[in-house]
């Protein structure tokens, strides 16, 4: 009686072990990493495979850090990162495929039109807690941030906060969409999202007097910009090379622009 049960338990345990992938052909390329880049990479892959039906591109998420790791270990040919590489990750080849602005957003009814970067930093560190210090109504500021590990939060931390922590009392949401939704509903809130996702429900603040737009980013005047990176280990070859070339081509970059990102060319 005992043995069949044991066998069953063992079987159950082995089911959980992921099966290993066999050898890959030169014609397939795996792209993995940042979930901020993933939707765009999906679009590129779709169009690319229509044009080059003999090549396959599979896009996976996992986050910037996971993408960097996977690229280093060779688990994917192209890694995606929506943050700058750290010093110990610099051995990978970086290709900037697009840039994304970060917008500081408030409710459309908020009379405050702009702020300095240091004011934004003070708001998110919890030192500046009332809109009246920015020329707004005498209301407490509701600060909305992203969760730990998010690439957008990582970029905001690096570009605005530096070494200062985002204060603990900030409301935390797990996507650009929910941050926008909350800011759109709360007249006294402030948050940050990707510039391409700003719509009529919210208003982006001018930072140090500069509105976030493609022109101001290209001119280098708007400072909250993060690169979207493709990473390869050494010189890309075969299908990976072809895919990267396509992404950087006029057609690939036009797709970027349509989706609200800033093309690199």
């Amino acid at each position: 009686m005992r043995h069949p049960i044991l066998t069953f338990l063992l079987l159950l345990c082995t089911v959980g072990v992921p099966s290993c992938r066999g050898g890959r052909s030169q014609n397939d390329v795996i792209v993995a990493g940042s979930t901020s880049i993933q939707p765009f990479a999906d679009k590129w892959a779709e169009v690319f495979m229509e044009k080059r039906p003999n090549l396959g591109v599979s896009v996976q998420g996992g986050g910037s850090s996971a993408g960097i790791q996977a690229c280093k270990s060779g688990a994917c040919q192209i890694g995606m990162s929506s943050r700058e590489l750290k010093a110990d990750e610099k051995d990978l080849r970086e290709i900037v495929i697009a840039r994304d602005g970060l917008a500081i957003i408030v409710h459309p009814s908020n009379p405050v039109r702009g702020a300095t970067l240091s004011q934004v930093k003070q708001i998110f560190s919890g030192d500046l807690t009332n809109w009246k210090y920015l020329g707004g109504p005498d209301k407490e500021i509701t600060v909305v941030t992203r969760e730990e590990g998010s690439g957008t939060r990582g970029a905001f931390q690096e570009l605005v906060m530096g070494k200062t922590r985002i204060f603990r009392g900030a409301i935390t949401e797990d996507s650009n969409g929910t941050v926008r939704e909350i800011v759109a509903n709360d007249p006294h809130s402030i948050g940050f999202i990707s510039l391409g996702l700003v719509n009529e429900q919210v208003r982006a603040l001018a930072l140090d007097g500069v509105e976030g737009s493609e022109a101001s980013i290209r001119a280098g005047r708007y400072r909250l910009v993060r690169p979207f990176l493709f990473l390869t280990k050494g010189e890309p070859t075969g299908a990976a090379r072809a895919f990267i070339d396509f992404v950087l081509s006029e057609e690939g970059q036009a797709l970027v622009k349509k989706e609200g990102l800033i093309p690199v060319k």
Partner: protein, 288 residues
């Protein structure tokens, strides 16, 4: 051994394997979670893990205190709202309601249990949160909002188990009490509630388990701030929200710390279930 006996044994064996598969899944989950979660607790120290108030995984500081307090606050708030309503509903259903009223209310309560939690969360975000923000101030996403929604969500648990334990009481209790001249309310208050006490306590504890474990609705309406809330109107993060919010990007120690959060939650829920089992076992024993 003849053919029939062999067949009988085979069926018994097959049923046993199926029955044990459920138990073994629990075993696999438990082992996996403890294996993944406990090393980091001991690496940084149990005390700093449980009592630390800084949760900044990117800076290697893992303090779960705000989340533990958050779970306790929200659950307690849900009890304050859910228990009186649930108990009142159970009493009405068993003692005061006519058959036709019962026939309407009972299925409605059961339907309440079938509504997915994301729907509760959505209602909270769309109706309750703006209401709280406009009436009481603050961001609206708060301990209060989470308590109210969770209080509603645990109603079916509390009602159905309390109804069962009230109905299980021998009719002689009611008859004897009425024969002594007690009114209906006196009967409920002095005879039935004390007699069904252990069942009612079990229903409350199971409701607590549901409230602590709820994730989707809490993420949507509690605001998920990592600080210990200073008022009912402040945002709060629970243990379950912490795992669900951050798991998608977590790697390395951050990921282990989320498993550790799961371990803490597991221990809390196990403790609650044990208490519930002990009280209901006592009830069965008392009944003989």
């Amino acid at each position: 051994m003849n053919r029939l006996e062999r067949k009988d044994r085979l069926v018994r064996l097959a049923l046993l394997v199926v029955a044990f598969s459920a138990v073994s899944i629990l075993a696999v989950i438990t082992v996996f979670m403890f294996e993944q979660g406990t090393p980091i607790i001991f690496k940084y120290g149990v005390k700093s893990f449980l009592a630390g108030s800084d949760w900044y995984p990117s800076e290697k500081s893992f303090g779960l205190w705000p989340m533990i307090v958050g779970s306790v606050y929200v659950t307690f708030g849900a009890m304050v709202i859910g228990v009186p309503f649930g108990l009142a509903c159970a009493i009405v259903l068993t003692e005061f309601a006519s058959k036709s009223v019962r026939r309407i209310i009972k299925p409605v309560v059961e339907l309440l249990a079938g509504i997915p939690s994301v729907v509760y969360g959505f209602m909270g975000v769309v109706i309750l949160v703006p209401f709280i923000r406009e009436t009481f101030g603050g961001p609206g996403l708060s301990v209060l909002a989470a308590s109210i929604i969770l209080g509603i969500m645990i109603l079916p648990t509390i009602i159905s188990i309390s109804v069962d334990s009230l109905q299980a009481l021998p009719p002689a209790y009611r008859e004897g009490s009425v024969a002594l001249g007690a009114t209906k309310w006196q009967t409920v208050r002095m005879v039935l509630l004390p007699a069904a006490r252990s069942g009612i306590i079990a229903s409350i504890i199971l409701g607590m388990g549901r409230a602590i474990g709820e994730t989707m609705a809490t993420i949507m309406i509690a605001g998920n701030a990592i600080s210990v809330p200073r008022s009912l109107l402040a945002p709060v993060r629970t243990l379950t929200s912490n795992i669900a919010l951050e798991m998608s990007y977590a790697t390395g120690e951050h990921r282990q710390a989320l498993f550790a959060t799961g371990v803490i939650l597991f221990i809390i829920i196990m403790a609650l279930n044990t208490v519930a089992n002990v009280t209901s076992a006592r009830r069965r024993k008392a009944k003989g």
